[in-house]
Amino acid sequence: MDLFFTMLVPLILAAVALYGIFRRVDVYDALVAGAGEGLKVLLRIVPPLIALLTAVYMLRASGAMELAGAALAPVLSHLGIPPETVALLLVRPVSGSAALGVGADLIQTYGPDSTIGRIAAVMLGSTETTFYTIAVYFGAAGIVKTRYAVPAALCADLAGFISAAWAVRVCFPT
């Protein structure tokens, strides 16, 4: 099983390329075109990341994050969530790029293979920018009465945060 996940990337690359050739797709052309799209995505996220990492670095240096973490620590540790991730929990539903900035900072500070770094990564990978999504979808559909969409979506976010912390402890026992 360990070997499978270590080899997952090369295996996916091989399988996708083979399947593409089998379906008569110009695999190389598609790969290069997609990589070009990736550059556009990067170009789009650089400016917000500059703005947000500045704010995140300042917040961390000022000690505000530790204060917020300490204030919420009793609740969070009850849920199994490390208090260090408090800033990530707060910005995740509001802004995708802010969450990426905060999460990347956690991953770099504590290390990508630390428990906190892994929990931050799984939290980022298993939740979405809830309020943005709701605004876009209901905006497109002209919805004014949103009924229970926001509370139900926030339930999913909270469950995602709690289970991210739990899943990392299960998959990476220390």
Binding site: S62, T127, Y137, K145, F172
Partner: protein
């Protein structure tokens, strides 16, 4: 506008907190470091992010999304019983979900908006149970391969950036399951 308030709030809070805790010097140097860190982060994750965007493009062109959509149809009919007979809506939802699974965010959002617009015709201005379900399912991430996060981990010097996949899938399933359960429960008690 919301981001302006959040950003200004973060800066204000760190200035005030920095002065109160006597860490003014640290806050000042952090203000310089943060911007550079933003650019460095993007550079360090550029390679793997672009590679995976390329792989996803191959998946899209080889028709993997449509295959996935057909496979998902029976489950989706159960999730949206009100629209189970509406082929147009169900096909759009299936395309939205398979784009989400493959991490094609740029394709998933317009598809989801399209589905939301079509579904809202029955209940103009009000979020029906099916519409709430669509939104809840889209606010919970179901991406099979979280590309950006893996790119950040690789950028931070991780040799096995994808070893978080099982944990991510586990957390995603629980999160989506909770969202669907909450939507179904609330849908049966909330007034129309």
């Amino acid at each position: 506008m919301a981001m302006s308030i959040i950003w200004t709030g973060m800066i204000l809070l760190s200035v005030l907190c920095g002065m109160a805790t006597g860490r003014g010097q640290l806050v000042a140097s952090a203000a310089m470091e943060g911007a550079a860190a933003g650019v460095e982060l993007c550079l360090s994750m550029a390679g793997i992010l672009c590679l995976w965007m390329g792989v996803m493009e191959v998946m899209r062109r080889s028709g993997l999304s449509e295959k996935l959509a057909r496979f998902l149809m029976p489950a989706l009919r159960r999730l949206y019983p009100e629209f189970a007979r509406d082929k147009e809506v169900m096909n759009t939802i299936a395309a939205n979900v398979s784009a989400n699974l493959l991490g094609l965010g740029n394709a998933a959002t317009p598809l989801g908006m399209e589905a939301a617009r079509k579904m809202s015709r029955r209940t103009p201005g009000v979020a029906s149970n099916a519409l709430c379900m669509l939104v809840v399912c889209n606010t919970a991430s179901i991406q099979l391969i979280p590309t950006t996060v893996a790119a950040v981990r690789a950028g931070a010097g991780c040799g096995t950036p994808f070893d978080i996949l099982p944990a991510t899938w586990l957390a995603s399933i629980i999160s989506v399951g909770t969202g669907i359960t909450a939507a179904k429960l609330l849908g049966s008690i909330w007034r129309k």
